[in-house]
């Protein structure tokens, strides 16, 4: 059975490293893996989506509505935006950070209130945490992506050492300690 992880956020938040890490981990585990992303125009502060799929044999590179086992989100509104991609028994793992999109900046629409509460009220399983604070605690605001991966690892039956090995394979040596710390903080927070 193919498993599906959607990573969503705002262009520039670092989702490419998160999907690279996850892809490497799952490849090391012996799965067939597909990771799909869209480059170019959508990177400029727009909504960005990365699909990670793994299993015995993966065909489609994309995840469709009602298929995601996890939505991993860098931002609250983006988590809400892709909810219809989640399976009924799926889970949202999200950073609580809010980033105003242009319609909010220009005053055309308000930023929706209490999104996490509304998601839970609708019956979605949501694990929300302040990844930015944890990343800063680890040493860099840029480590939000690895904090999120640490959190996601709680729901995977894959040993921590294997995640750490994948981090070692994806991150330059000089940022290794920082990222391992960010991973641990995400997992235990």
């Amino acid at each position: 059975m193919t498993k599906n992880v959607m990573i969503v956020g705002v262009g520039g938040q670092g989702s490419l490293l998160a999907s690279k890490l996850l892809g490497r981990l799952l490849l090391n585990e012996g799965y067939d893996v597909k990771v799909s992303e869209v480059h170019g125009m959508s990177q400029r502060g727009g909504s960005v989506v990365t699909y990670v799929r793994y299993g015995e044999k993966v065909y489609s590179p994309i995840i469709d509505k009602g298929e995601a086992d996890f939505i991993v989100s860098f931002e609250q509104l983006e988590a809400a935006r892709y909810l219809e991609y989640l399976r009924p028994d799926g889970r949202v793992v999200t950073n609580i950070q809010k980033i105003d999109p242009m319609p909010v900046i220009t005053g055309a629409m308000p930023y929706p209130e209490n999104l996490i509460g509304k998601m839970e009220a609708k019956g979605f399983a949501v694990d929300a945490l302040d990844c930015l604070a944890l990343a800063e605690q680890a040493g860099s605001a840029k480590a939000v992506n690895i904090v999120l991966m640490g959190r996601l690892s709680k729901y995977f039956d894959i040993a921590s050492e294997k995640w750490e090995r994948a981090i070692e394979e994806c991150v330059p040596q000089k940022f290794l300690d920082l990222n391992k710390k960010a991973f641990a903080l995400g997992k235990t927070a």
């Binding site: 597909k34 799909s36 509505k65 989640l86």
Partner: protein, 574 residues
């Protein structure tokens, strides 16, 4: 060794393993990484050419010289390179010549969603279409063999989902291709009418041989399953079909989409109860099947617009899909925006303020069309701004030139803006062309170009001086402004619009995302001074928002460009 690779990276790996020696391309999403990744191999000479036509001609020259060569581009780039494409079909090749064209169904990053398969049919060239990264690598290697065996350029068609998806690739070693010394052959390579007339029959014979080859080649395969449904498909559509049906349908997977294997198709059709053609964009396989007398389901059910997905395939073919739910309220969308500190913003703000008619072009700055700036009137294709402003002004006479400007980036100007400027200089319109020189090809992810002074590997290279170039073309008024300086921008634009001769304004400041660009201290909004007039909001800067009636600056996004501070009459932004 098995590796997880982007389709484009796998393509580049195929170039490396095939012994490709020369690569020349112009960046374009979703094709760019093929060439960027190829440039990581020291064994391959790689370059960014000024445009796709030049790139294809460079690759052709290298093939003529006897080296396996390649050029890559997006679908609309092939329009630019169509001229050499059609005639190098006649000349054929010496060493193998492979062309990548990457389509963008769904228009993630494009101005249209044309189907490049039409080019293969029209130019009478073989076209391969991989469906994942492994095939991207293997097809590329085989494409060189095919090119040399049949004396033809070979097109490999990628699409966004194959180009930008990672899947597992089994890599191999680089081979040393057969030596193909250059030999003078006027009848084959000099395409003047007398020779071209003799080459055309060769092209037709070659297509007939390729059609026979397609019947029994490794690119096409039949996967038998439940015979109640047969699907003929290719590329990513094959993956959706397998996702939905698995073994519950028979599939004819085409890896070679031109020429099509007629006997194979007829044989496949005879074994299944119902035949479905699954292809994104235009009904090319479908129409071919219909000429073979087959009854098929295709575009009567599936759209010629946009991308497919497993849900779409399932829904159209009557297979149940999982239920999904969402929140009940509408959510604000998040379109792409110019980055905080983008040098284009100040210029577009000024153009909006002066109510200019802005003939636009292709690049990050096309986002100048988006609210609140809304400072663009037209975007067509690479270079069209410069040619169109001339036509606009010629049509409207003297007054037209008082309001209208062309805006074009440095890379786009090199690509195909120069010829438009030559026309302005030659046919003398009172046109104002603004070159947005941010010292990089921005939208495709920071590629070097002839004005940046660096090559694809980041090493020092020739550097074209834009001011000297415009002067040499006969434009005597060439002015450079800093787009962060709003007052100066306004003064210069007004002045150049007023004069009765062609002029070029170079709006020069490097992209704020370039690593060497030093950022200033973020602007802070003094809450006691802000009166909530929202003048700063007219910039559409993602770092500025209004909270409880007052401006707030996101210090993590702000790069301290200071453009907003110039708009604040109350000294609240410092």
């Amino acid at each position: 060794m098995a590796e997880l690779m982007l389709g484009n990276k796998a393509f580049a790996r195929g170039l490396y393993e095939a012994g490709c020696s020369v690569v020349s391309s112009y960046p374009g999403t979703p094709s760019t990484e093929v060439t960027e990744e190829a440039a990581r191999y020291d064994e391959i000479y790689c370059e960014w050419a000024p445009n796709e036509k030049v790139a294809m001609e460079v690759a052709f020259g290298a093939s003529l010289a006897g080296k396996r060569s390649f050029c890559g581009m997006k679908h609309v780039g092939l329009n630019v390179a169509a001229d050499p494409l059609f005639t190098c079909s006649y000349t054929g090749v010496n060493a193998g010549l492979v062309i990548c064209v990457a389509d963008d169904a769904g228009m993630h990053s494009s101005q249209n969603e044309q189907d490049s398969r039409h080019y293969a049919v029209a130019a009478k060239l073989p076209m391969l279409e991989p469906s994942d990264s492994e095939e991207a690598c293997q097809f590329t290697k085989k494409a060189f063999e095919l090119s040399e065996e049949f004396d033809t350029p070979v097109i490999i068609k990628m699409c966004t989902r194959v180009a930008h998806s990672q899947s597992i690739v089994n890599t191999g070693e680089r081979i040393t291709p057969p030596v193909k010394p250059y030999e003078k052959n006027i009848a084959k390579y000099v395409m003047m009418p007398a020779n071209a007339i003799r080459r055309h029959p060769f092209v037709e014979e070659r297509m007939a041989k390729l059609a026979a080859y397609a019947e029994d080649c490794g690119f096409n395969r039949v996967e038998m399953g439940d015979k109640s449904l047969g699907i003929i498909t290719s590329s990513t559509s094959y993956q959706y079909a397998k996702e939905v049906f698995g073994e519950k349908a028979c599939i004819l997977k085409l890896g070679m989409v031109n020429p099509l294997p007629e006997k194979l198709i007829l044989d496949f059709a005879s074994k299944v109860d119902k035949l479905v053609i699954l292809e994104e964009l235009d009904p090319i396989i479908e129409n071919h099947c219909k000429t073979l007398g087959l009854t098929v389901t295709g575009k009567d059910v599936f759209s010629v617009m946009g991308e497919f997905s497993q849900s779409l395939v399932a829904e159209k073919l009557g297979v149940a899909r999982p239920q999904a739910k969402a929140l009940d309220e509408p959510l604000p969308n998040r379109p792409p925006v110019m980055c905080a500190g983008c040098p284009h913003r100040g210029l577009f703000y000024t153009l909006a303020k002066l109510k200019c008619t802005v003939l636009g072009d292709i690049g990050c700055y096309t986002l100048g069309a988006v609210a609140p700036l809304s400072a663009m009137d037209m975007t067509l294709c690479m270079g069209a701004s410069v040619s169109a402003v001339h036509g606009f002004n010629k049509a409207l006479g003297g007054e037209g030139g008082k309001r209208s400007v062309a805006v074009i980036g440095d890379s786009t100007f090199m690509h195909s803006g120069m010829t438009g400027l030559a026309n302005i200089a030659y046919n003398q319109s009172n046109s104002t062309v603004i070159i947005l020189d941010n010292s990089i090809t921005g939208m495709t992810g920071h590629q070097q170009n002839p004005t940046t002074g660096y090559n694809i590997k980041g090493d020092p290279a020739g550097k074209i001086n834009l001011e000297a170039l415009c002067l040499a073309m006969g434009i005597s008024r060439v002015v450079v402004v800093d787009p962060y300086d709003l007052a100066e921008c306004e003064r210069v634009i007004k002045e150049e619009l007023a004069v009765e001769e062609p002029s070029v304004i170079i709006s020069r400041r490097p992209c704020a995302l370039l690593k060497y660009v030093k950022h200033e201290k973020p602007i802070a909004a003094a809450q006691d001074k802000c009166v909530g007039c929202k003048a700063c909001m007219r910039l559409g800067c993602p770092a500025i928002s209004i909270r409880e009636g007052k401006a707030v600056i996101d210090a993590t996004l702000c790069v301290g460009c200071g453009v907003c501070a110039q708009l604040c009459k109350f000294g609240a932004l410092v």
